[in-house]
């Protein structure tokens, strides 16, 4: 079934055959096939909820498949736990770094495999030296003896990579490792991956970024709804084709922002500063327009959003909503003033996973819904129904824990929650991160609808196409400052990128 791998002369290193895995009623994997050949970089793509992460966890030994078989070098492979996976030479770099904040960087890398000296004691010196070697190989400088606590996301990711390298794995699984990395680091990571391939290892690369996929991988396997769809040589594929297979249909215009009549200024931020995070940020957003806040990861965009919304405090500056100053440090007041913030991290900030769809959808409106301070059932139910319908949330029932929904539907619930507050200003941070292509389109359509209805929308996004497609104006942040404001006409890849990287900034 699967076509010739590069040098298919060699037998596959790892084979998954008809692997299924389900949690409770939900089938995450249904009969997945996968063959990794020595020396190949193999991409695994699919919408969220397509089962990629489950597959990764299965390879990592964190999940044991319900049915199906795995084979390493033709010999059947059974993983009873992560330890077994390691022993089998499978290294995994997870989406979210999984470090031990209290332990030193070096220990994080070598936990459980620390170099030993006499009496099976740990040889700290050797351990730190080895860690340094690894970092040199990655071309970064991190003090191996410092605690992992306080490392930036990117640095944490690098430590993860170093960990994966440290036992030179025969199979390297990378689950969206590049999310937080700078281009240079991505390049270096790919360099390492390639050198591993040259040494006969196999790399399984999971990413939503097609540019990287096509750059690194020789073959692409597509999953949809936990089932295997196809495996082809990268050369034989186009981005559109891959997307079509992922979604299972043609995705019409991804970015349908129509021009809406621009109304008066709703959000006015002036001289906003927070020591060490962002300084002197000023901008306005008018009703009916979408303003994009662009910039590198860590440029301070989300931080500005959080400060405006009152989750974080700020040292100086002022936020005005429709001309009226908004008291700092109180999300409740912000909501009352008509602000809404769809946060970056759905699991941690957007939703209460264990609570029902209904409760989540009405959480931000619970006060408005209560009569004489009392909340008697019906009101919430009605409200929840209204918005989940409008956003076409696919949930078995409103009382189901929101954690059981797919990523896309979860994001919709978050949106429902905030739209329910009937905001005048919507701040939306990474509106489509980790959302399948299908829902992406829906979200974008919704955003421009809302703009049409006269909402002022501030959109933070790391996806350049999204920014260029959706925004009426683009504010570019670099190291905590707004360095450039670009009209829709001015904004293009180069202009934004230059500003974002601090080159040729400040027009």
């Amino acid at each position: 079934m699967s076509p010739e791998a590069p040098g298919a002369d060699n037998a596959p290193l790892l084979v998954l055959d008809g692997v299924t895995k389900s949690f409770g009623a939900v089938a995450a994997l249904r009969g997945v096939h996968l063959a990794l050949h020595p020396g190949e970089a193999h991409a695994l793509v699919g919408e969220n909820g397509a089962g990629k992460s489950t597959l990764v966890k299965t390879l990592a030994g964190a999940h044991t498949p319900d049915t199906g078989r795995m084979a390493l070098d033709g010999r059947p492979l059974e993983l009873r736990g992560p330890a077994d996976a390691r022993a089998a030479g499978i290294a995994v770099i997870y989406q979210e770094p999984t470090l031990f904040p209290d332990l030193s960087v070096a220990e994080n890398i070598f936990m459980g495999r620390q170099p030993l000296r006499g009496l099976r004691r740990i040889d700290t010196t050797a351990m730190n030296r080895d860690a340094e070697r690894l970092f040199e190989r990655l071309g970064v400088r991190i003090d191996p003896t410092r605690p992992a606590r306080g490392l930036s996301i990117a640095d944490q990711q690098l430590v993860e990579i170093a960990k994966a390298l440290s036992f030179d794995a025969r199979i390297l699984v990378m689950d969206e490792p590049t999310a937080a990395l700078s281009g240079v680091e991505v390049e270096r990571l790919f360099g390492v991956a390639r050198s591993l391939c040259e040494r006969g290892a196999a790399v399984l690369f999971i990413s939503h970024r097609f540019d990287e996929v096509f750059d690194l991988c020789q073959r692409i396997t597509v999953l949809r709804d936990g089932a295997w769809v196809s495996t082809d040589r990268t050369a034989d594929l186009t981005v559109d084709e891959v997307v079509r297979r992922m979604v299972g249909r043609d995705v019409s215009s991804l970015y349908p922002k129509q021009d809406a009549p621009v109304r008066g200024t709703l959000l006015e931020v002036s001289g906003l500063s927070r020591a060490g995070v962002f300084s002197d940020v000023s901008f306005t957003v008018r009703g009916g327009e979408i303003v994009a806040l662009a910039g590198l990861v860590g440029a301070g965009r989300s931080e500005v959003a959080r400060a405006v919304f009152g989750v974080d405090r700020y040292d100086a500056g002022e936020v005005r909503v429709a001309g009226r100053p908004l008291p700092p440090g109180s999300p409740r007041r912000a909501i009352a003033a008509g602000l809404a913030l769809v946060p970056e991290d759905r699991r941690q900030q957007g939703l209460v996973m264990e609570l029902s769809v209904e409760r989540n959808a009405t959480l931000a409106r619970r006060r408005a819904l209560s009569r004489l301070g009392l909340l008697i059932g019906g009101a919430e139910r009605a409200e929840a129904q209204r918005w989940t319908r409008r956003l076409q949330v696919k949930a078995s029932r409103l009382t189901a824990p929101v954690g059981t929904l797919s990523g896309g539907n979860q994001q919709k619930v978050v949106l429902a929650k905030w739209l329910a507050t009937e905001p005048r200003i919507l701040i939306i941070d990474e509106p489509t991160r980790g959302i399948d292509v299908g829902t992406k389109a829906e979200v974008h359509r919704l955003l421009s609808e809302l703009a049409n209805e006269g909402l002022a929308i501030l959109m933070i996004s790391s996806e350049l196409p999204e920014v260029l497609g959706m925004a009426d104006r683009v504010l570019v942040m670099h190291e905590g400052r707004v360095v450039r404001e670009l009209s829709r006409a001015e904004a293009d890849e180069t202009s934004v990128m230059l500003a974002a990287t601090g080159q040729g900034a400040t027009a």
């Binding site: 409740r332 619970r366 006060r367 209560s370 301070g373």
Partner: protein, 361 residues
């Protein structure tokens, strides 16, 4: 105004209301001055006593010690058990696992629920259990306290192990003999409000004013809370704070044992004298290794034994708790009810290396 703030408003109002409910139980300001302390239902001499009334068989007599895990009470309760078997009654011992008044109350309630004829108890708090005892009395039970008393109106008979005077005299005499009639001494007591301890200490101070003890100086009273380790530490503290200390009186079984153990393991062994109230089993080795010359105690078994008989006598109507009434307590012979319904077991026994092996409790 946010709703959950409002929520807490609700909470606050609720609390306030409840507070009112509680305080509204008395009208106008109740202060210490104007609240004339009305004594609870006095019980003295309810009906006349009939000295030759028979003790009927099958009397239900319950022992409720301060706590069931205290060896001292185990011994005395067993004494009680002997007595109850002699009079062919039903014996029962119940009690809390920790010496707290509140749990004693719920046991008293339970006992009166079970329709006991006699409740023999040792009070963790002179007042806390009064209410319950009075209820039990009203329900027809006779109340005898032993070892430590409640307010007199809450019980019919208090069986006192020994008169306070007796203890004080005995203790001071012992220590004075041991330190040769002169020098600094300290007292290691149990807890600062153990009903009897304070009375004893007071009387010891009076004793010390006598001419023959003029050369003895009481430097301090330390409290070991009837806790072994605390008493141990307090003894350390005493010896460090008072270099010239010649002797320690510890009129509590826990304290004296702890002090003895500390001395026997320290440089002060034999140099600093120790006496007090202790059980032979605890003190035996220290008497033998010379840490302690002599100490005293009443026989807790006899105490329980006597209490049981007193209770039986009450139930039979031989006595009512009025002063001057007489009753016979099996092997211990005849006893007379004193003032406030107090019955005294008798003078303490002094133990030294000659007689200690004759006792086992």
């Amino acid at each position: 105004m946010s709703a959950h703030r409002r929520g807490f408003r609700f909470g606050a109002t609720g609390l306030a209301l409840a507070a009112l409910l509680l305080s509204a139980t008395a009208c106008g300001g109740t202060t210490r001055e104007n609240s004339g302390n009305d004594p609870g239902a006095g019980n003295q001499a309810s009906g006349a006593a009939n000295p030759d009334a028979q003790i009927r068989e099958g009397l239900k007599i319950a022992f409720l010690p301060k706590q069931v895990n205290n060896p001292y009470f185990t011994v005395s309760d067993n004494g009680g058990k002997t007595a109850v078997t002699e009079i062919k009654g039903e014996f029962k011992e119940v009690g809390p696992s920790e010496a707290s008044a509140s749990s004693q109350v719920s046991y008293i309630n339970t006992l009166s629920q079970q329709g006991m004829d006699v409740i023999v108890t040792s009070a963790n708090d002179p007042n806390a259990i009064c209410g319950a005892l009075n209820q039990a009395k009203a329900a027809g039970a006779k109340i005898v306290t032993f070892d430590s008393d409640t307010k007199p109106e809450c019980r019919q008979i208090f069986v006192n192990q020994v008169t306070a005077e007796g203890i004080a005299e005995n203790q001071v005499k012992l220590i004075s003999e041991q330190i040769g009639g002169a020098g600094e001494i300290a007292i290691l007591s149990a807890t600062a409000n153990a009903t009897n301890q304070n009375a004893w200490i007071e009387l010891m101070k009076q004793q010390l004013t006598k001419p023959e003890y003029s050369k003895i100086k009481l430097v301090t009273v330390a409290y070991g809370n009837d806790d072994d380790q605390k008493s141990f530490q307090e003894t350390q503290g005493l010896l460090q704070s008072y270099p010239n200390l010649k002797g320690i009186i510890s009129p509590t079984t826990v304290g004296v044992a702890a002090a003895a153990r500390y001395l026997s393991g320290s440089q002060y062994k034999g140099k600093v004298k120790l006496t007090g109230l202790g059980t032979p089993n605890q003190m035996r080795q220290y008497v033998k290794d010379g840490t302690v010359d002599a100490f005293a105690l009443w026989n807790p078994a006899d105490l329980g034994y006597l209490a049981a008989y007193a209770g039986a006598a009450l139930a039979a109507g031989q006595i009512t708790g009025a002063e001057g009434e007489k009753f016979t307590a099996g092997k211990l012979g005849e006893y007379t009810v004193g003032k406030d319904g107090v019955v005294v077991l008798g003078p303490p026994t002094v133990f030294d290396k000659n007689n200690i092996d004759k006792f086992d409790f």
